[in-house]
Amino acid sequence: MSVAMREAFGKKVAELGKTNDRIVVLDADVSSSTKSGLFGNEFPERFFNVGVAEANMVGVAAGLATAGLHPIVNAFSIFLALKATDQIRNVFCYNKLPLVIAGAYGGLSDSYDGASHQSITDIAIMRALPEMEVIVPCDAQMAESALEYALTQNKPVYIRLNRNAVPDVGLPFDAAQKKGVVVKEGSDVTLAANGITLSATLEAAQILEGKGIKAEVLAMPFVKPFDVQTLKASVEKTGRLVSVEEHTVVGGFGSACLEALSTEAFNYSYRAVGVEDRFTETGGYDELLVTYGISGANIAAKAEELV
């Protein structure tokens, strides 16, 4: 286990603040949770805590962005995606203003707080917005790379962060390439993992290996722009695809995979792993992931249905 992704991200923001004086950081009364407070402590004059007012926060950020600054807005991902969507779309995306949206407590990771706090529609919402980029890192190191990349862009970039310590996968990853990574080669089925689902997906590959099924595992942090080449090369070879995401299966990463392959000439069979079209509930994080199918066993079972 590494440090929590939010901790690593917060530290990186504070570190980059030293050399990049265009960075301004905003938070909505959750800076001790998002760890944006680390930047706030070092650069109080470039830190704005607007209270529990996510829409206002994003509006204020837009004003800052018009004057050459690069805002990083921090809040729980569900409230950024739901309470500030209008400001994100009609002010930032429409006007192509620079913004890093740091979506804390992504997916089911705010597990005990329950359905009102679990963010399972943020990717679908964010990826539908023109000019938006959407990155879902699989570990702390990838989150840092995503942040560095996002700060080079003159447009809004959504980075979905996890609340908890997740295993360090340590992949060679440079977000600036906007590419997926082939983590394990195989020829029978492609397992495309978005974000922290990568570790469960690697577990699934191992289970499948034991049954003589060779799975190819892809880490696909970019939901938008989508790396169609990496996915296509793999699925053309295996003829089978399982997409895995910590999100509703409606409109998220799995949908992005299907859209990307829809113009390809080859046939393939498909299964989606993610939260079925329903509300989630309170519980421990690990047990919730298993409950909603984001487990090695379930991913392997879905893959087996295709073979």
Partner: protein, 297 residues
């Protein structure tokens, strides 16, 4: 639970408790919240404790509710807009008879009806699901307007902290409440001055709050009430009944984390798990408070 209190709250038909009884009951319920939050290592102590007297007074003195018919159309409504204080509401509802007290230790476990934040279709007695701050007042306006449309005569109570007052939606609701003047809508502010990241003065100043209600056209109580003193809370209820001018707002001065001296007024105890050491020290203080209040029964 003290046997005198237990028999009082089990009385059928239910008879409202007086100030002395309510004080002793709230102290007991506060300890129960503390126990469950500690054993579960998740949940929000600061804001649950802050409102212990307020919800106890509402459910055991004032509100017309019927645990045997939780969706009775004539019942008074309650919206916990600061939904993170769910442990408070669950404890009060359980003891008021809406579901077994033995369900409380299951708080926030997978499969329990006691979700992290209140869920109206899971927990008996919960009138509205909350959790995302800022929703409560708008919904309360709707419930109160519905009583007029449906020719019913119930009260609608909305309880919020500073957090909801930061959200823009609350101020849209403030405007529309003074336009529609929903009858029997009471907005109660648990004004403990501390939110998640720090004090409200540091994060988003709200003072002078009563003046803001005034200027938005509300009937706001001219005095601040003490949200931990049952006599003061009962005075506020008398003020609510003193005229027919709506909507009404009442600001209660409270202390976040009330009852455990080293947790009081600290944003760090907003939602932190209660460690064993703090628990045993805190329990001593909460028990002493119970003893003091039960002695007056």
């Amino acid at each position: 639970m003290n046997p005198i209190l237990q028999s009082l709250i089990e009385n059928k038909p239910f008879t409202p408790l007086d100030a002395t009884q309510l004080s002793a009951l709230a102290a007991n319920l506060r300890l129960e919240m503390f126990d469950v939050l500690h054993s579960r290592q998740t949940g929000h102590w600061g804001g649950a404790s802050s409102a212990a007297e307020l919800t106890t007074a509402l459910y055991f003195n004032r509100m017309n509710v019927n645990p045997d018919n939780p969706r009775d159309e004539d019942r008074d409504r309650f919206i916990l807009s600061k939904g993170h204080a769910s442990m408070n509401l669950y404890t009060v509802l359980a003891h008021r008879g809406f579901f077994p007290v033995s369900d409380l230790p299951g708080f926030r476990t997978l499969g329990s009806h006691l979700q992290g934040h209140p869920s109206m279709n899971k927990t008996s007695g919960v009138d509205m699901s909350t959790g995302a701050l800022g929703h409560g007042l708008s919904i309360g306006i709707g419930m109160a307007l519905a009583s007029q449309v449906n020719n019913r005569d119930y009260f609608t109570y909305v309880l919020s902290g500073e957090g909801c007052l930061d959200e823009g939606q609350t101020w849209e609701a403030m405007l529309s409440a003074s336009k529609f003047k929903p009858r029997k809508l009471v907005y109660m502010i648990d004004y403990n001055g501390v939110q998640l990241d720090g004090t409200s003065n540091d994060i988003m100043p709200l003072d002078p709050l009563a003046d803001k209600f005034h200027s938005f056209g509300w009937n706001v109580a001219s005095s601040e009430f003490d949200g931990h003193d049952m006599n003061s809370i009962l005075d506020s209820f008398a003020w609510i009944d003193s005229d027919d001018i709506w909507p009404k707002a009442v600001i209660y001065k409270t202390v976040k984390g009330k009852g455990v001296s080293f947790m009081e007024g600290k944003n760090t105890w907003h939602g932190a798990p209660i460690d064993d050491d703090s628990y045993s020290k805190g329990r001593v203080e909460l028990l002493a408070d119970i003893e003091k209040k039960e002695a007056l029964l």
